[in-house]
């Protein structure tokens, strides 16, 4: 259409090659999570038996299980969403409806961008020092706090763009009917942006589930999340590849399901609403 006349066969060949480069490493991990260690290291794929042994170790073996850390991650996600979504709903509505030239709006949005750009380590190092001093190192509450802190600007931005897409006439009609502002948000706006809220919650979920940096600095054994748990199977020297691969697969499955659910809103979430598509 726009550029075209690039040879279609070359295009297909290239894109299929890219798909292979993406899918083969992932498939390789899945295959190897279903093999015994001795077959992995002897590079014997066709003759060797398939097994769920690695998954058994990673999920059921009391001394190696990552299930507690999975629950910890779920706790972080649920707590973060419970705080972030309602607060962001109000803030997002306000920022969407304040006049564009409002100084307050300008400063707030720029501060959010600042907090997005500010490195996670530059948050994690000082909080590590502060939490250690306050006896909050390795405390789940400290982690929930930083996840809320990192998730909120993203949530506000996303919700703001969803609300600004609602035609103003909807609200004007409600105002004529004498609806209060609080009722406006909860009774009129909320049902309209429910899919957007779900997408926002999923984004916060993915970020929290995938976080390693903050947990690496602020969590010890007690508050460790799923990413810390899978990294425990890695080492500089001797690595138990079977268990490691099974843990990686377990950590990747939920986010791949979420990816399927939020395809439509991916770009908005990834760019802080900078690109709408």
């Amino acid at each position: 259409m726009r550029t075209q006349s690039i040879n279609t066969y070359i295009t297909y060949a290239l894109l299929i090659l890219v798909a292979i480069i993406i899918l083969v490493p992932i498939a390789w991990i899945v295959i190897n999570s279903l093999k015994y260690f001795k077959d992995i290291i002897s590079f014997d794929y066709f003759g060797s038996p398939w097994t769920l042994y690695n998954y058994e170790v990673v999920l059921l073996n009391p001394s190696e299980t990552i299930v507690p850390q999975i629950f910890t991650s779920v706790l972080y996600i649920v707590s973060t969403i419970a705080v972030v979504i309602p607060l962001s709903m109000f803030a997002g509505y306000a920022l969407a409806r304040l006049p564009y030239n409002s100084l307050f709006r300008f400063i707030t949005l720029n501060f959010f961008i600042f907090s997005r750009v500010f490195p996670a380590t530059a948050i994690a190092v000082p909080y590590f020092a502060a939490f250690s001093q306050a006896g909050l190192y390795d405390n789940p509450i400290a982690l929930i706090f930083v996840y809320i802190l990192r998730g909120m600007p993203l949530a506000i931005f996303m919700i703001m763009t969803f609300i600004s897409e609602i035609p103003k006439e909807v609200e004007e009609a409600a105002l004529i009917d004498g609806v209060s502002t609080t009722a406006m948000i909860t009774k009129i706006i909320l049902p309209l942006i429910r899919p957007g809220l779900a997408a926002t919650a999923i984004f916060v979920t993915i970020y929290t589930w995938n976080d390693f940096t903050l947990a690496a600095f602020l969590a010890g054994k007690n508050a460790a999340n799923i990413q810390i748990a899978i990294s425990q199977f890695n080492a500089e020297q001797f690595i138990r590849w079977g268990e490691l691969n099974a843990a990686v697969v377990i950590a990747a499955i939920p986010v791949l399901i979420f990816l399927w659910l939020i395809q439509k809103h991916l770009i908005r979430g990834l760019t802080f609403g900078a690109v709408k598509a």
Binding site: R2, I22, A91, A94, T108, A122, V275
Partner: protein
């Protein structure tokens, strides 16, 4: 008027949390860099700029700055070029279903956690049992120590980041490209412009703002990469992949020197804000 005040008030809880939660660590960072923290009871003694002197004169820090620069520039340049080409190729596919299919496959890479991506690649690059190591040794007959050689470890780090994040650029440029106005391209086609001419003379200039967004986000995020490299190589061999973030981690947990870590992450924050300022200037010059 009353409405506007209500709107402002309803942002207060969220804002208070974000502003307080972000400004406090900045204050703490400055404090940590000017004081020395000692012992288990963490007693603070004021030392002025001595910590800065220690860090800036440390060859390890200078090494980290160089590696961060190499890693960031190389990865971002490759991701932007490759991502733009792939985005246009996908957008030019006639079948909508195929477009969606390829975009979905691509999105899988960045949705998977950085730790998982690092471990996937650590496995396939690992000597003797990795798929890529197997291919390079047995089929192409070259011995490459992907993770064990300082030079190749840096290259591996770039490969992993490109695999992980090029799709992000694809998605953004794709969204920008499909919203470009068709008539310009039709007119150019009637005037006899070839596909390549249309790409370089029309698409690229029009895509500039979109590519700038992708460039901005990628630069910020590659600068701040941590788990990808930490889990891939643990910063090694011989600190060859110790970017600033890894140095901050090593300083905190291996050198047990939180002052050192604070200065390293402060430097990283300043670099990130510098990149943001450049992007803001670009936006202003374009008149946004």
């Amino acid at each position: 008027m009353k409405m506007e005040n209500f709107l402002k008030i309803s942002t207060v809880p969220a804002l208070a949390l974000i502003v307080g939660g972000t400004l406090y660590p900045i204050y703490k960072l400055v404090e940590l860099s000017l004081f020395e923290v000692r012992g288990l009871r963490m007693e603070y003694t004021f030392v002025g700029l001595k910590n800065f002197q220690t860090v800036f004169q440390d060859p390890l820090f200078v090494n980290s700055l160089q590696i961060t620069a190499f890693f960031t520039i190389t990865s971002v340049v490759i991701e932007i070029i490759l991502g733009t080409i792939l985005a246009v190729l996908i957008a030019e596919l006639k079948s909508q279903i195929l477009q969606k299919f390829f975009l979905f496959i691509l999105s899988m890479t960045f949705i998977i956690s950085p730790v998982a991506v690092a471990l996937i690649w650590r496995f396939i690059l690992y000597p003797d049992l990795g798929l890529i190591d197997f291919l390079t040794t047995n089929i192409f007959n070259i011995q490459i120590r992907w993770l064990g050689d300082p030079f190749w470890a840096k290259i591996s780090a770039v490969i992993v980041d490109v695999w992980h994040w090029t799709s992000f650029v694809v998605l953004i440029v794709y969204a920008g490209y499909i919203s470009l106005p068709l008539p310009i391209f039709e007119a150019a086609q009637i005037d006899g412009a070839t596909g390549f001419q249309r790409f370089f003379r029309i698409s690229l200039p029009l895509l500039k703002p979109t590519i700038a967004v992708a460039l901005f986000f990628r630069t910020i995020d590659v600068l701040q990469a941590f788990p990808e490299l930490w889990q891939l190589t643990f910063g090694g061999p011989a600190f060859a992949t110790t970017i600033l973030n890894i140095l901050a981690y090593i300083a905190t947990f291996q050198m047990m020197n939180v002052n050192y870590a604070a200065i390293v992450s402060l430097v990283l924050a300043v670099i990130s804000l510098g990149v943001t300022a450049i992007y803001a200037l670009y936006l202003r010059r374009r008149g946004e």
